[in-house]
């Protein structure tokens, strides 16, 4: 399913873009833009602005998140930044600080 994996000892400082799922177990700083799903696993550390279709976060994310479909903050994740997405799920145990925008049009 997920073709791209950033391993736990990998550090990327820069920009990641692409059309497929991305799993982050390591550290990414900079910017991530995908047309598919981003999975930040529990060992993953992201200090980047994120622009994807789906985001699932179990690790740490610092940065603004824009998702066209869904953002899911799992238990024990730690997220600092603004989230903009039509669907946002925050699980029990998740730590989050920032604004939430579900882009609701009245």
């Amino acid at each position: 399913m997920a073709n791209t994996i950033i391993g736990s000892s990998i550090v990327i400082d820069g920009e990641i873009s692409g059309d497929e799922d991305l799993v982050i177990q390591g550290t990414v700083k900079g910017r991530i833009s995908l047309k598919e799903s981003l999975y930040v696993e529990s060992s993953g550390i992201v200090e980047a602005d994120i622009d994807t279709q789906n985001v699932e976060i179990a690790g740490r994310v610092t940065g603004n998140i824009v998702a066209s479909d869904k953002v899911e903050l799992k238990a024990d994740c730690r997220v600092i930044g603004d989230i903009k997405s039509p669907r946002i799920l925050i699980a029990d145990g998740a730590a989050f600080k920032g604004n939430v925008d579900m882009d609701i049009k009245d």
Binding site: A2, N3, T4, I5, I6, G7, S8, S9, I10, V11, I12, D13, G14, E15, I16, S17, G18, D19, E20, D21, L22, V23, Q25, G26, G30, E41, S42, S43, A58
Partner: protein, 225 residues
């Protein structure tokens, strides 16, 4: 979690075919590139650039295997391997470099100075020793050769051989006064050959020549008749 996930994904970092990473990538594990990476790659393990992979970066790794495209310099502490599908433009610095038939490469290769010169120095050292032995065997065939006289006159083995030869010589030649000059002359090639011939001729000539001559003469005479 991390360990389980890594085992699930074969403990590899993979950059998928549609992914572009631009910037600096560093780490302590294997990296497989099927997409694009631009910028810089620093790993303490292996970089594998697969056929669909494109790397435009300066690379510092332990081991690099290139089946795709690499534009940039690779510095490897162990080995750089260009497989048949590999294409690379840039310089390679690595103690071991393998470029397979079918791979295309443009750039400089530096395997370090440690290994190359040592081998180069050993080879010349063995050659002189071989040439030193060669004249002894070829001496009979090439008496006029210039290099040989100095070697024999200066080399210790020559005097060692002389005593061995003279010992039988005097015994056979005790009656004849000629031997002493023959012994003194051997250091020079032409004389030595001449002396040997003369020495052999003195004891042997009387018996065989006579028999041979008699037989030959008889046969010849019969045929003539």
């Amino acid at each position: 979690m991390a360990v389980k996930n890594q085992s699930m994904f074969s403990n590899n970092t993979v950059v998928g075919p549609s992914i572009l990473i631009s910037g600096r990538l560093s780490g302590d594990e294997d990296l497989t590139v099927r997409g694009r990476v631009e910028g810089e790659i620093v790993l303490s393990h292996t970089l594998i650039v697969e056929e669909s992979g494109i790397v435009k970066a300066n690379v510092e790794v332990k081991h690099a295997i290139v089946s795709g495209v690499v534009v940039g310099n690779i510095r490897a502490t162990e080995c750089v391997e260009l497989t048949p599908g590999g294409r690379m433009v840039g310089d390679i610095v690595s103690p071991r470099v393998m470029i397979v038939d079918g791979a295309s490469f443009r750039g400089r290769v530096d395997m370090g100075e440690a290994q190359g010169p040592r081998e180069a120095q050993e080879r010349p050292a063995t050659k002189p020793s071989y040439t030193a032995y060669a004249p002894r065997f070829s001496s009979a065939l090439r008496p006029p050769s210039v290099p040989r006289p100095p070697l024999r006159s200066a080399s210790p083995p020559a005097p060692l051989q002389r005593p061995a030869a003279p010992r039988p010589m005097p015994v056979q030649r005790t009656v004849v006064t000629a031997p002493p000059p023959a012994v003194a002359s051997p250091p020079e090639h032409l004389p030595s050959d001449a002396d040997e011939d003369s020495a052999d001729a003195k004891p042997l000539p009387p018996e065989p020549p006579v028999l041979m001559d008699v037989n030959k003469k008889k046969v010849v005479v019969k045929k003539k008749k």
